[in-house]
């Protein structure tokens, strides 16, 4: 940690601690969430300080967040899983057969032992067995309808540009064009992923090339969606800071 970082950290803490105390005194009222919002605002600013540069205040709040998240998830695991699904059935309802689940689950912690590490594989193998058993159903239900949907009619049944009341039996010109675009994209992208032979023939080469271009267009669209999510999160934080925290906007 260099001198600048130390100054940044000391000044930041010197501001944050009294602010939190003042906030507690001012905002903490029974049934009110004002103090939570106040702490949320401080934490948001501390985490956004990374936009200026890496600094100890950011790291402090990052670790506080990780600690809170780990504690919260552990507590939820106990209150929502271990207690209602194991402790209560075994010790309060007398379903003793479920007692075996705890030692079996605890075997996973032998992963930290060099000598008995092999024991940790037992619960893993059981879980893998469950997953393998479910895999066929999962695959069939997810992908078989996709394969069925890839067989689409490309010849219109009604010579109208668009069908205001689309039904499975009627296909308009625009619907047929959409289906043609779908089929061309499907075939060309599949051709791009044919690695079993060299793409020497012009038909295969150009189809695969088209597939590559279409994949790139798809990636571009997906990247645009990614940016939309990130900005929506920024807008939400800005709204939180300016409206919920600082109350800079009146009722709309």
């Amino acid at each position: 940690m260099n001198r600048q970082d130390r100054i940044f950290g000391i000044v930041g803490l010197a501001l944050a601690v009294p602010l939190a105390i003042v906030g507690y005194i001012v905002f903490q009222k029974p049934g009110s969430t004002a103090f939570n919002a106040f702490l949320g605002g401080i934490a948001t600013l501390a985490l956004y300080s990374l936009l200026y540069r890496e600094n100890p205040i950011y790291r402090l709040f990052e670790h506080v967040y990780l600690g809170l998240a780990a504690g919260y998830v552990s507590m939820m695991a106990i209150t929502s899983v271990v207690r209602p699904k194991w402790y209560e059935p075994v010790f309060e309802k007398g379903q003793w057969l479920w007692l075996w689940a705890l030692p079996l689950a605890l075997l996973a912690y032998f992963v930290f032992s060099k000598r008995h590490g092999w024991l940790s594989r037992i619960p893993l193998v059981i879980l893998a067995g469950f997953a393998a058993g479910q895999a066929f159903q999962a695959f069939a239900n997810l992908y078989f309808p996709q394969i069925r949907d890839s067989f689409r009619p490309v010849w219109p049944t009604t010579w109208r540009l668009d069908n205001p009341n689309p039904s499975p039996d009627s296909l308009s010109i625009s619907g047929a064009l959409n289906n043609i675009l779908f089929v061309v994209t499907l075939i060309s992208v599949l051709a791009y992923f044919l690695f079993s032979f060299e793409h020497k023939k012009p038909v295969v080469r150009s189809t695969a090339q088209l597939g590559r271009w279409l994949i790139m267009i798809g990636f571009g669209a997906i990247f645009g969606s990614t940016i939309m999510t990130r900005f929506a999160l920024l807008v939400d934080r800005m709204s939180f800071l300016l409206v919920e925290w600082l109350h800079l906007r009146g009722p709309t």
Binding site: P84, T229, L233
Partner: protein, 291 residues
Amino acid sequence: MDEAADTKSGLLWKLQNIDRRILYLVLLVVVAIPVLRPMNITNAVDPMSEALWKTIDATPADKIVLVSSTWSKATRGENGGQTRALMEHLMNRRIRFALSSFTAPGAQVILDIVRDMAPRYNYQYGRDWVHLGFQASPNNFVKGINADFRKTVRQDFVEKKPLDAFPMMARVKSIDDVHMVVEISASAVHNIWMQFIKPGVRVGFCPTSVMAPESLPYYSSRQLAGVLWGAKGAYDYEQLNVRNGTGRYGMGREYMAPLSAAFALVIVSITIGNVAMFLGRKQTRRGGSGS
């Protein structure tokens, strides 16, 4: 390296190398203005959003909707607006619903929203809605409720009572009593519902924008009854609610103007950077300094 790139004092070089902190500051200002001064952005409702709205609206009186919330405060900007719009619709139409979650924070965030909205619609816990809580094993939960809710969920999340203690669960025995499942999520959890839910139960999906593209093939093949595409989907749903008298505008419309402003800034920045690059290269070819 070309001469233009070497000339660090040149305007074209500067336009291609703006300090990221200046861009961040401009972005914050551009987003802050419409947040503080809300404005309406016109919107065309996506057919995917309309399909979800219509499917939920067609819920029979004797069935419930199961809403799964697998998101946290980190994606409130998108999933928060979707959840509120969906709840407005359910409560306005007096559709009974059950909540569940595949993540620990997801169970709490939706509970906070429903508790905030329920008094406005006189929605009572146990009579109109219940919370099944955090489900640590998604596959087994879905396979379990296909057959029997009670054996799968031993107690509710809020009052820690058996499901039989709640009047609305009296007629809900298995997944046959569920009209549809709506997954509000920041990840690809919709796959689990499509993989394991009993055939015939409709599945709706409300993802963040980053997750939405990969759900489209499933909407196209009718495996998903409808999709709300991120913040835009939330605005679509609010618009459908307002149009049909089942809700009002909220986060979806509020966030659309700042989002559009941010997108405009990105487009302008990319254009400036690329124009500067092309002009710089052109000047270099002519033997200039690129300034």
